[in-house]
Amino acid sequence: MTRVSVLACLVLSGIACTQTSQPLIELPAHFPEPVYQFKGNPVSQAGIDLGKLLFNDPLLSADSTIACASCHHQAFAFADGGKALSTGIKNQKGRRNAPGIFNVQWHPYFMADGGVNHLEVMPLAPITDTLEMGESIRQMITKLRRSTFYPAFFKSAFGTDSIYTRNVMLALAQYMGTLVSAHAKYDDVLQGKAKFTKEESEGKKLFEQHCATCHAGVLFSDFKFRSNGLDTSFEKDRGRARVTDTKADEGKFVTPSLRNVALTAPYMHDGRFETLSRVLQHYVHEIKPSAATDSILIKKKINLSAKQQQAVIAFLHTLTDSAFITNKKLVP
């Protein structure tokens, strides 16, 4: 690469710029424009490496037992492999099911209730949650500053070995930004590189008829807050209302992406359903009508035979991205 093109590359884009033509963070051609574009947080290999180190370091928790990676495993698309609720420090159970982590730069907000408004501050939630990592930011920074090796990592990522909250968060955002999942069979079919089986095709048609209003687009979410008829009272978890203190938001949760959904069981905000067929059963037979329940589920009943449900599940399996869960670059 010539000096001029390197410069142009640096000026034009913090995202897709490396020594080689391979961008540090993939921007799949069939995805929309990301919400978070690393503005003011130019991505570098050193920044990604630091973020990866932090993500996997239990030092970030109060008793140095729980890392981000303790509940977000690559094999499960960075969800917590079969656990309804994850275990935090002092053997405590969390409030909600740990979601997978991928394609985060396309999310307008985070957490099932949308309480976190920006990718760069996402880690502050689990780090300070007393049930999860339970650490104060001051103590976390003190521990990082005391470490013998972190200062050098910060120096190469940010040009200074002074460690502040800001740079910890920016590095974590860079690393999480590398967790792009866009190479499932579904994507290959979109790009003409593979073909659906007959059952998958049938499933896709049914999915588009019955599910795609909410699980919309290539990200498989409209990122809206909705109540999907699981409950009729919400004392146990107010959902979006926990953040907004607004009656109309009681029991609403953000539509989750369905990419890698076959890997991220169990399902729903509290992990109450163990399998995809159990989830389908809910949508077909068990929607509980209430003032909160999204009208679309009441107006337009999801009427699917057992065979059709199987087809939908077959289609959902085409959203599994094997390359993503085996990419060694994404883990230490």
């Binding site: 957490m111 309480g115 976190v116 949650d129 800001r166 953040v243």
Partner: protein
Amino acid sequence: MQNKTQRAAAFLVSVIILAGAGCKNKEEGPVVSPFTAKATVTMQHVFGAAPLVLSSQWYVNANNDSLRFAMVKYYISNIKLLSGGQSFAIPGSYFLIDESQEASKTFTLSGLPSAAFDGIEFLIGVDSAKNAGGAQGQTGALDAIHNMYWGWASGYVFTKIEGYFMDGSESGFSLHVGGFESPNNAIRKVTLSFGAQSLQATNTGSDTLVIKTDWSEYFKNPVTLDLKQINSVHAPSAVANSLADNYADMFSFGEIK
């Protein structure tokens, strides 16, 4: 002493002349003020007629509850100095005041034009942009290290008071107010006039503005707070909003010295 019109004219001239010198770079990086004068601000905390003292001192609020404070922390930000109807916004003015840290109660406003000011305007809390702007603005007073940030509902805690009240025996209260989005927007704007006095910004910052903060106002007007009913607030909410309405008028002009 100059009259108000003269003051305003002098202020405007100095701002116009100097503004061209340093306000550039619309893209990124902190805005550097072309001005070099300074002034000092001191926050004076009281509860009614008595000085505010943490831990040991008991007070009685409007609801007749006896209480004592263990912690009093709050942000003031987006400070503007006023002069004859004109205003001068101080870039990057974010201050975390902590009653337990004496030094935090006095701070310097720098980058000011050498003018005489007759009033001040500021926010109690932190503006929406910083609440929604991710980690990049989290430096200095806005660093999450100060434990004035909600991780689970992104945004700053604007005011944080904790302590004890008598409810038969001693009971704890912990009231954390924040929230920047409608309908639970707890940002409040304060405007204070210095009356006949003026704050002269100089290169030494020798003039000190004393702002009085009366914490008894937290507990009344428009809503008389009953600590037996409400003693734990930790999220943006309708209750937090009404507390912000209560304390919005707790600041008053003390003196210039």
